[in-house]
Symmetry: C2
Subunit: 360 residues, 2 copies
DNA sequence: ATGGTTGTGCAAAACGTTTTGGATATCTAG
DNA sequence: CTAGATATCCAAAACGTTTTGCACAACCAT
């Protein structure tokens, strides 16, 4: 029986809309005030409100009336202290303004809300100090658990030390060597495979692949899946998931005498880099998809709005967040590790206007 | 002197990376355990850690060593209970996956983090019950304040009742009749005005305006500013800020025999509707900006990536979130209402490829 | 010597709940 | 009429901190 994290009794509507009066903030009523005013003990008030033990209906009615009159709302802090849990968890991500993480956050928030949990947003901006600071919240037991969706390498060891002692679930990015952990991630490898098959079916035999940072398992999985399924010649260039990176890599290649080996397609490991590539190609007078096909990864909102609409792999960001959080909470509330402790969520290829049969 | 919300002492790195061992969770060390092990009172431990009163350096060293050995981290709950504040605030928004609110959230998180505050994400999905539920957090004093950036009408009265008693700051959307409130909002009216001037300067004299819901002051302000500065004929249609709405409204008009009165420009109250309009126009065989100019509002990421790149009004979403939060926290920590309790933040017109001189 | 300061540490109260073991009165079954 | 059950409520402990008032010793200046 987890405690309700906060009271939901509606504020009486007919209350005088007092002017904004900072000075007159009086100490909010405590359970003792209610007890005194109702002529009962604090215990009884608690029982009336929680229904934890039966109370005489007459007494209960009196107590409830006093509760309303005084506008009493139980202090959730004291409740949590007593209960040993706060009904709040954290969500640690690098950048909430990135639509992928925003979607993930939405899923996490939904899952948390479903079980009456609050969600603290831990936005790290890829800053290790900031991340440590937030991880401190779990050690001080202010949050009951953490959904971790960051990939900053320096915090890896710190994370390991925590995972044995506190409930932590990984989302989106795996951490090597943590076998027993709770993990929810998209099927990056399958995504790469789908792209490889798609381009191959269109007759492409040579492709340029713009990868993400080597340190990220997810990025590597995309590349591996692609290379394996494409069964053609693949030239790799390492980018950083930013638009400028895609633009720069392609521009450089074009200036060095065209895409290497007569590539007819470009697969970028995320949509942003794909957009950069798109712009670079257009600037060089090439048209997409007639001359070159371009594929992205993520399916961010702009992908379908762009011109041409971008063929890309849809990632279930919402589901990743939701699943990881649900797993974490199952662990936290029931105290048991959920049966399937690793979830790999399906991705989907969205074929749009940026891919076409290979030019001959 | 606000309390540190959570401990930041780094976990010792050289700790044995124990296997994931749920059964062996032992009660974390409390201040009493430390006191006993160090042969001092809990008071002394507290003083050593807080520096609140001087402690003999020899004793202090001993205490610190025990703290490390036991891995003691103060329970922030107990600390907050004693302090009467949690160092956590809430951010209530309708939809985190909307890039505008994601940016706003980022600003809010930054401001909160700067002052050592945590931020609870309250995503309402425009659901009044969910909003009430979250507002309950402030009444139960689990959070020290709330940044409110939603516009759902039914909660208006409820909000009024709360604003006199708890620290609440409004972001993005004003609430009528709450004069003393803390408010940070973009200059919607100026944004509309900029668009009006821009289109007029390009020679446009008749325009279609797609507004947002009438209930939103921000949407009305955009329309008012536009109409006043455009000084031409303006046909208004009411949309709902969604892409389908922009598409539907324009399609309907086109099927009824072209844009009314020979409009040469469309101003949508947000980018999403502008994209809808763009698609509808293209489907009707009209080209943008040669035949019709299109302007949006918000400057979401997709705006610059679209084809043609969308002329739009850049809203300082990040600053709105940051400013509102900073104001709230100034109020919360210092207990005083900041000097300027209303901030109207400047917007900026981004002229891109979707506007051109009026076709004659 | 005396009074005041400084250094050092402790005990107890306070924060606001929930939970547990009784206590008292009333009822039920034999 | 009595033993046991039931209904009703309360006092006290517990959750883990910080803060406050005080005690004691040691030192200083008069």
């Amino acid at each position: 029986m987890t405690p309700e994290p906060y009271d939901t009794t509606p504020e009486p509507y007919d209350m005088a809309p007092e002017p904004y009066d900072r000075a007159a903030v009086r100490r909010p009523a405590s359970i003792k005030d209610v007890a005194a005013a109702a002529g009962v003990s604090a215990t009884t008030v608690s029982h009336v409100l929680s229904g934890n033990r039966p109370v005489n209906e007459h007494t209960a009615a009196r107590v409830r009336s006093v509760v309303n009159r005084l506008g009493y709302v139980p202090a959730s802090l004291a409740r949590s202290l007593q209960a040993g849990a706060t009904s709040v968890i954290g969500l640690l991500i690098p950048d909430i303004s990135n639509t992928f993480f925003a979607e993930l956050a939405k899923g996490a928030e939904d899952a948390a809300h479903d079980l009456g949990y609050g969600l603290i947003l831990c936005n790290t901006e890829f800053d290790a100090d900031r991340e440590d600071r937030y991880l401190g919240m779990i050690r001080s037991r202010f949050i009951d658990g953490m959904v971790y969706a960051s990939g900053s390498a320096p915090s890896r060891r710190r994370l390991e030390a925590l995972m044995g002692k506190f409930p932590i679930a990984l989302a989106d990015e795996e951490v090597e060597g943590l076998e027993g952990a709770l993990i929810a991630t998209a099927d990056h490898e399958a995504g790469g495979r789908l792209v490889g098959e798609h381009l191959r079916a269109l007759g492409h035999r040579r492709a340029l692949m713009l990868t993400g940072p080597r340190a990220l398992k997810s990025s590597n999985a995309r590349a591996n899946g692609f290379v394996r399924a494409f069964r053609g010649e693949v030239v790799e260039r390492v980018g950083d998931f930013k638009e400028t990176s895609g633009h720069g890599l392609v521009t450089d290649l074009l200036q060095d005498g065209g895409l290497p080996g007569g590539c007819t397609a470009v697969f970028a490991a995320n949509d942003l880099m794909a957009f950069g590539a798109l712009t670079a190609l257009r600037q060089a007078g090439l048209s997409v998809p007639e001359d070159i096909s371009v594929v992205g990864f993520d399916d961010i909102r702009a992908a379908s709005l762009a011109h041409p609409p971008l063929t890309t792999v849809h990632q279930p960001a919402y589901d990743v967040g939701r699943t990881a959080t649900a797993q974490l909470l199952q662990y936290v509330t029931r105290g048991e590790v959920p049966p399937a402790s690793r979830h790999t969520l399906p991705v989907e290829l969205k074929v749009r206007g940026s891919t076409a049969p290979a030019a001959r």
